[in-house]
């Protein structure tokens, strides 16, 4: 595992990778939740739950995207 992390750190963004992504239960739950949300939005947008639900999903998704878009990002974890 250490070797994998060391090799990753040699890439230009490796420092960021090693510094920012330790495995945790919280992160795993985040992945599952994001996947479920993504699948739900996908199905809603292609009309599986009907046109009104598709319109609501579209507006909700765009609002969510705009809100998250404004979040400042880490530029580099390690210079």
């Amino acid at each position: 595992m250490r070797e994998v992390v060391r090799r990753a750190a040699d890439t230009p963004l490796g420092g960021a990778l090693t510094g920012a992504t330790p495995f945790s239960l919280r992160r795993a739950m985040g992945v599952v939740l994001t996947t479920l949300l993504g699948v739900t939005f996908f199905n809603a947008l292609i009309g599986v739950f009907g046109l009104p639900a598709a319109v609501i999903a579209l507006l909700l998704f765009i609002a969510l995207a705009v809100l998250i878009f404004r979040r400042p990002q880490t530029e580099r974890a390690r210079q």
Binding site: A8, I46, A65
Partner: protein, 470 residues
């Protein structure tokens, strides 16, 4: 060997239009992106926006040029390969293509000069107006072409008199039943294509640790743009699906890979099929149970109509339509996955630092182009055997020219277009490799084509115009 003019005319048109569609798609997407970037530069005066604008303006200009040249060829091909179509449908199609030239092309061409050469020769607001007008022109152009093509898919507002089409209602010709469903689908496709193209280049810089401010800003803006466009695309895509199911049922029956008049209930979703058109069955299918009912009928047990509902002599080739549609749909799912992941990473503040995501963006650079071409293959092969749906068969639309003429021109097109794409790719990759700092303030004559690619020419531009250096 007997050369079939119908097959050759179709191959020739398919080849040239496939090549052509890459460039307008890119132009529409990049023009919209340039409007946003220049708007941000005017608002914030941050040099990085000017740098992004200058860099992408160069690639946009090259794509625009190739798009114009390859588009002109298509008009001539109506005469070369499909003269009977031009003769019969000319009264409806001709004015629309003429109006495209008048309202869109003139607008684009006029303002393109200011956009490319006037960055420091006219005021910033006038330059921004020029960029907006070019973007508007690309979209107007698309709307006329989509109107003409949609009329071929769902003709309206005409009568047949003495074997010729006579327009009875122009509004219905332009605003035919599928136009308003297909236009936003195509425009969204172009925006997504441009966004993924830009994002891929920005991600490549970040992975290499070069031009990082430029890379971060382009990745952030383009993937944000793609996120909104992707959601809209899924929404309008479903509306288009319903419209096509109503007006061109055989196309959608072929697109889903079912043969029987009604599939099993609940219907599975076919991912891979090996269709046998002669025996009207699939030799092999890879499917997910129930998903067909959920996605296609929006119910848990609805059956899906198959291609046997359409008489054999009116059926399109299932394999072509199915794989065109499924390539487009698979690419759309992948792109939606990418934008959802981008939101999650943005929430975690890791958008620029997650290596696997940046690599995925680089791999997905051509995703929009692939999806767009596949979508057009679905539209065009699904309309067969008609060139004008229900009115004129493709076989009856071909020019009375020998196959050898079509073959020789096909070879000429393949050779010339091969040179075009090679030149475009060489210039584009060199511009990307050189980076945004080498992008000149505005288009400049380099003296000769031979010298245009030389390092000292590009470096001279970088030294002369150091604005926005990191």
């Amino acid at each position: 060997m007997r050369l079939d003019p119908e097959v050759l005319a179709r191959i020739q048109f398919a080849f040239t239009v496939t090549f052509h569609i890459i460039f307008p798609t890119m132009s529409i997407g990049l023009a919209a992106f340039l409007v946003i970037i220049e708007g941000l530069w005017l608002k914030t005066k941050e040099p990085v926006y000017l740098q992004i604008y200058r860099f992408w303006m160069g690639i946009f200009a090259m794509g625009f040029g190739v798009g114009v040249v390859t588009g002109i060829v298509l008009s001539f091909e109506f005469g070369l390969g499909f003269a009977k179509f031009a003769q019969i449908a000319g009264p409806a199609i001709g004015p629309m293509i003429g109006l495209e030239v008048l309202t869109a092309f003139f607008l684009e061409a006029g303002f393109l000069g200011i956009m490319l050469f006037g960055l420091h020769r006219v005021g910033p607001k006038l330059h921004f107006l020029a960029t907006c007008m070019v973007a508007l022109g690309t979209e107007l152009s698309a709307s006329w072409i989509l109107s003409a093509n949609s009329w071929m898919q769902t003709p309206d507002g005409i009568a047949i008199q003495n074997g010729r089409i006579v327009v009875t209602n122009w509004l219905k010709v332009v605003d035919n039943p599928s136009w308003l469903a297909r236009l936003p689908h195509m425009l969204m496709a172009a925006l997504i294509t441009g966004s993924f193209f830009v994002a891929g280049v920005g991600a490549w810089y970040l992975l290499r640790g070069k031009h990082e401010t430029f890379g971060r800003r382009t990745v952030s803006l383009s993937i944000g743009f793609a996120t909104v466009a992707m959601a809209c695309q899924l929404f309008v895509g479903d509306i288009l699906y319903g419209t096509m199911l109503r007006y061109q049922p055989s196309k959608m029956q072929a697109a889903e890979g079912f043969w029987e008049e009604n599939s099993a209930s609940p219907a599975p979703y076919n991912w891979i099929i090996v269709p046998d058109q002669v025996h009207q069955r699939n030799r092999f299918t890879l499917r997910t149970p129930v998903l067909g009912s959920i996605w296609l009928t929006h119910s848990l047990s609805g059956p899906v109509a198959g291609l046997k509902n359409t008489p054999r002599d009116r059926q399109p080739m299932m394999g072509m339509v199915f794989y065109g549609f499924h390539t487009m749909f698979t690419m759309a799912m992948l792109m939606f996955f990418i934008v959802v992941v981008s939101l999650w990473l943005r929430l975690q503040k890791r958008l620029f630092t997650t290596v696997w995501f940046l690599r995925a963006l680089v791999i997905m650079t051509p995703a929009g182009f692939i999806a767009t071409i596949a979508g057009w293959y679905t539209a065009e092969t699904g309309r067969q055997p008609w060139v004008i749906w229900g009115i004129l068969r493709t076989a009856d639309a071909v020019s009375p020219v020998p196959g050898s003429v079509l073959l020789s021109t096909l070879i000429a097109f393949v050779s010339i277009y091969g040179l075009f794409i090679t030149a475009f790719l060489v210039f584009t990759f060199r511009m990307i490799r050189r980076g945004p700092e080498a992008a000149p303030d505005q288009a400049e004559a380099s003296g000769s084509l031979k010298n245009a690619l030389k390092k000292q020419v590009m470096d001279r531009a970088a030294v002369a115009h150091p604005v926005g250096k990191e």
